[in-house]
Amino acid sequence: MVDHAGHPVRLDSVPQRIVSLSPSLTEMVFAVGAGERLVGRTKWSAYPPEAQAVPSVGDGLDPNLEMVTAQRPDLVVFYHTSANAPTIARLDQLGIASLSVRLDRLDDVSPAVRLLGRVTGDSARADSLAGAFQRDLDTWRGRAIEHRLAVLLLAWDAPPIVIGGGSFLSELVQLAGGRNVFDDLLQSSATVSIEAIAARAPDIVLLVEESEPAVAGRPEWEAVRAVRERRFVRVHGSEFSWPSLRAGQAVAQLTAALTTEKP
């Protein structure tokens, strides 16, 4: 068995001590029923609430290997990015199994759940969750909502950082009946100029960060009509922080927020 990094998963038996180095995968470990066996999580793992009871091993990116190995894990779960390759190589040397899981887009959710289920031992439960999620996703996509609202997803104000088409947030907006004005960008986020934002004339500004960009009242932002008219929509919750089985709740929340707005 290989993981999403093409790296073989060296497990002799079902893992009993799991460390998760990504908040999104911590959530997913609980979802596939292996939460009881989680012995380490990252500092900012916010969901589910039970995750708070699991000891923190610090940062997920560039993790502290001493903290990780101190939990005597038999499996360490990574968010798949090339930045983790050196850490994984170190774990190989230490004889600790690793599992890299791709989780960037909504289409990644089902394969991720299935992979985690297979590795942690309850494939049946995972396959059923994954199957249900995929069916829901297909249904939402099939609804073919007319994309009325032009939405600016703003992550930061100075410099202006927007969410691009590469992010699952862009997909969520699409499913909720909106259109990300920067959905042509392949990046998940990018620095752009206010002029570029003004030129794309968003109807509303969607604010997804916990600490909100302070754009209201700033003279240079008044050139953006949606800001001038204070058409802000705020959404909260970790379901907007990473792709997860809770995407449905996120879409529902967004749909409700967007349908009260007029183009």
């Binding site: 752009v192 100029s193 934002i197 794309r200 008044e222 050139a223």
Partner: protein, 322 residues
């Protein structure tokens, strides 16, 4: 005559930069936008976004160049630039602290950067004032490096302990951006900068003499201690406010003074004004590239100034050496 040519060239650059932007507007649209007869968002884009942004870039670039020229003569080191004196570290620490403390008011980050820069200035000044009121420029250099390094390490600690992509975003801002430009920002910057710029200009002759060394300067009639203090305070004040408005824009303050010395004038009475307009124009060009090269994506303007500044400088030095 020479000046007329230079100012015309700079005016062309400024107008050209107003004509360029991620929103594709024709020259006619831009003109109608400027005079206010265009329709829809064009007037807003040209008048309220591009024009103040170009002007702010010009003012900041000019101020940084003038400051670099003055500091190079003050510390008698051709590698001196406006950020040499620990300012960038102090400003960065201020900005990162503001974000780590979740201060979210619109001006929180610039003001915190300003406070950090001024804090670094005072600390370096305190270190460098050895006895009484004598400012030792060698200690000033060392103090700047040390305070800058210390601030950078505190900043690193805050970043390591903070949750947030927000803190990284603050660093993005520090790399230099005129995204905050507005007429309000232009007015505040211009009102603030005019006094230090004028004061620097009155110090043009002492600067000529200081470049010879402190003792020769004294014997040629310069009030060296007073001139050094005024230079340090004005240069710091200009840089701090430039950082607050636009983050850290490297290479302008280092390269432009040398380029102007090699091609235009070495006496500060002409060097300073020429460095102001050339530095302003360079940053306007850099910002135009930052806005348009990968539109709608935007590059940090400091990256672009280095990309333009370094090759131009290498060419100049080679030409001059031969």
């Amino acid at each position: 005559m020479r000046w007329l040519g230079l100012i015309t060239a700079v005016a062309v650059v400024v107008l050209g930069a107003v004509a360029l932007g991620p929103a594709s507007l024709s020259v006619g649209d831009v003109w109608r936008g400027l005079v206010g007869s265009a329709e829809g968002p064009t007037v807003t884009i040209v008048r309220d976004l591009r024009l103040p942004r170009v002007l702010l870039a010009f003012l900041v670039g000019g101020s940084l160049s003038v400051t670099g020229a003055a500091l190079q003569a003050l510390v008698r080191n051709p590698l001196a630039d406006p950020y040499l004196l620990g300012l960038s570290g102090g400003a960065g620490l201020g900005a990162v602290s503001a974000i780590a403390l979740s201060l979210t008011s619109p001006w929180a980050v610039p003001i915190a950067a300003l406070v950090g820069a001024v804090g670094a200035i005072l600390l370096v000044y305190r270190v460098a004032v050895v006895t009484g009121s004598v400012l030792d420029t060698r200690v000033l250099l060392l103090g700047g490096v040390v305070v800058g390094a210390f601030a950078a390490s505190v900043m690193g600690a805050i970043m390591a302990l903070s949750p947030a992509p927000e803190v990284r975003n603050a660093l993005m801002w520090l790399l230099g951006s005129f995204g905050r430009a507005s007429w309000q920002a232009v007015a505040i910057f211009a009102a603030y900068a005019v006094i230090p710029l004028a004061l620097l200009y009155t110090l043009a002759r002492p600067l000529d003499l200081l470049a010879l060394g402190e003792e020769p300067a004294r014997f040629l009639g310069a009030d060296v201690e007073r001139a050094k203090r005024h230079l340090y305070v004005t240069a710091s004040a200009l840089t701090a406010v430039a950082v607050a408005f636009a983050g850290i824009i490297g290479f302008v303050g280092l390269v432009v003074p040398h380029a102007v010395r090699l091609t235009w004038a070495r006496l500060h009475r002409s060097l300073l004004p020429a460095a102001f307009v050339v530095g302003g124009a360079l940053v306007v060009i850099a910002d135009a590239i930052a806005r348009t090269a990968f539109a709608p994506l935007e590059l940090p303007v400091g990256v672009v100034t280095a990309l333009i500044g370094v090759p131009v400088f290498v060419l100049l030095v080679r030409q001059w050496a031969s």
